[in-house]
Amino acid sequence: MNMNDMRSVERIVNSHAAKIAAQNVQVHYGASQAIRDVSIDILDRTVTAFIGPSGCGKSTFLRCLNRMNDTIPTCRIEGLIRLDGEDIYDRRVDPVTLRAKVGMVFQKPNPFPKSIYDNVAYGPRIHGLVQGKAELDEVVEQSLRKAALWNEVKDRLSAPGTGLSGGQQQRLCIARAVATGPEVLLMDEPCSALDPIATAQVEELIDELRANFSVVIVTHSMQQAARVSQKTAFFHLGNLVEYGDTAQIFTTPQDSRTESYITGRIG
């Protein structure tokens, strides 16, 4: 057990249980090490923010949580990551099943070049979550409502998803992820390509999603982390420097590096 790990154990003060538990995770890209010895518990029904300067490994670590890094041939991962107590890198685990449980929303909105309806229906269809058109319609509507997009698009569900505005596209991607019925939702800088109004909408949405999901959000905006998250983890040069309640991290950081970053001296 290293120091980070001991500290994080002390800080589990939230009433919710740990959804994802990572222990001593190391990630290498070829010869270079991107993540060093990270251990963290991510809680259920909580928004956790990963912050840190660019290149600190926060996105890399996020992508480890649903094995998206498997698609990069040179990437090698060591350590233990458990979802509800099951090792997600176990040989018996199918990354596809895992990703159905741990959904992901990306930095740039990436709607498929299909209709809005088909975008949202994509997940339920491939996972066979629904039977019949009526049930699918219901899931699509519910997901779009959860993503706060229903009122804007209900009259043009067959229009292409790529025709929406940037903020709408990102909410469509969130609706698409929600429709699959995930237990954890990973968001990789979901607002970096959006204007302030769209950002506000998505942030409001993230707060509401907390009721049903465990949300992990990577952001380079400290204000955003402060606004939407309950727990914050600060990454620096591939290390998890500090992890704790958001309020505590932003007011009384324990580590001098965290303080430097929050006060704008490194970044």
């Binding site: 990306f106 299909k114 699959t180």
Partner: protein, 486 residues
Amino acid sequence: MPVHILCLILLAIGLAGYFLGRRRALQVAGGNAKLLHSLPAYHGWHVALMATVPALLLLALWLIVQPIYLENRVTGHLPPEMAATPADVSLAMSDIRRLAAGLETAVDAGVLTEEEVRDPAADPAALAATLKPLGVALGTTPTPQVLAAAREYRTTAARLSVARAAAVLAVALIGLIAALRMARVDLWARNRVERAVLGLLILASSVAILTTIGIVWSMLSESLRFFQHYPMADFFFGLTWSPNFKGGSELGFLPLLWGTMYITVIALAVAVPLGLYAAIYLAEYADPRLRAWIKPMIEVIAGIPTVVYGLFALITVGPFLRDYFAQPLGLGNSGSSVLNAGIVIGILNVPFISSLADDIINAVPQSLRDGSLGLGATRSETIRKVVLPAALPGIMGAVLMAASRAIGETMIVVMGAGAAAKLSLNPLEAMTTMTVKIVGQLTGDTDFAAPETLVAFALGMTLFAITLALNVLAVWIVRKYREQYE
């Protein structure tokens, strides 16, 4: 004087001009090269270009105009009945040229003297007999008029050749001297040379346009001649193809179009699945080391000349299809067949489709794949439901280009499809295509006055139009597709 000797002399003049120009420039600068606006070498180039370029242009022009002038002049000697139609003239002209060349050979070989050739009283039959052992085969004994015309042709050609050499060399020398006289300290030789070079560059890039004009002109003019002999509607809508050089041919285009299209469809049915799945595997599944081996190996297929595939169709695939499919199924016993040519063209087009599709699939943004994988889709679901629909327009473009190549393919169909024009559904039967008939009608003995020969130009024109249209459409679709992701 032969053209190549003339060219060598021009080259020598140019070389001399370069050195003279350099010396002259240094001379006017009093030996101090720093006084010159341009380096002495540019003065040298200036003189060399002034000496050779106008002379070469004159030579090129002369080479194009001389045959036309000669023909006009010589046909004046022909009796009206031999020059009634353009076809008659071209027939008579080829006799005249052959005879004139024969006379030239005879004089060179010392069989005939210059006087004997010029003798107006010479007997054409005796002359033909003299020429025969020299390998000059004349179809029939030339008439006195043809003989006279051939004499005229020969002497005029000889005179023109001397005049050509004189004119070209004169222009070269005038250029040389004028350029030398222009040499001054403040002559902007570099700028003048660079302008000339730029002109040459523009000329070179215009060759592409000249080629297109040449293609369109050559095929259009001969096609129009064909349509004077043969009604256009009968050609484009005729259901029978039975050329007969004795006359009474039926030259219906539809059986050829049917054969071409049938083969193209089979070729695409082979090439598209193979090429597309290969591209998907290489782009989405293969690890980079495997890809580095497999991709060049597939490209090898495209690097092998089509005549090799033709032989493969002729001696391997064709007999195989005949022995194991056509005969057991009672569908014919021909080694040549639509299926044979189609399959082999299909294989040839696999690398074409796979490399185009590979590019197109790689152009689909990774973010779409991540989006799909991030939702828990398998790779194949991602490819089938996200990547391929996104790449569809581009792939359609690639398929159209492959279709255009299959339609224009010649050697494989010449050797593997057969020569009988048929409208049949049986893929194991021999059928024929536009390209086969172009080769058939234009090789061997051809008579450029007969519709049976000229029809090849109409076929060529149609082929050109079809392939061009398909390509323009394909390029347009692919461009639209690329813009979507830029």
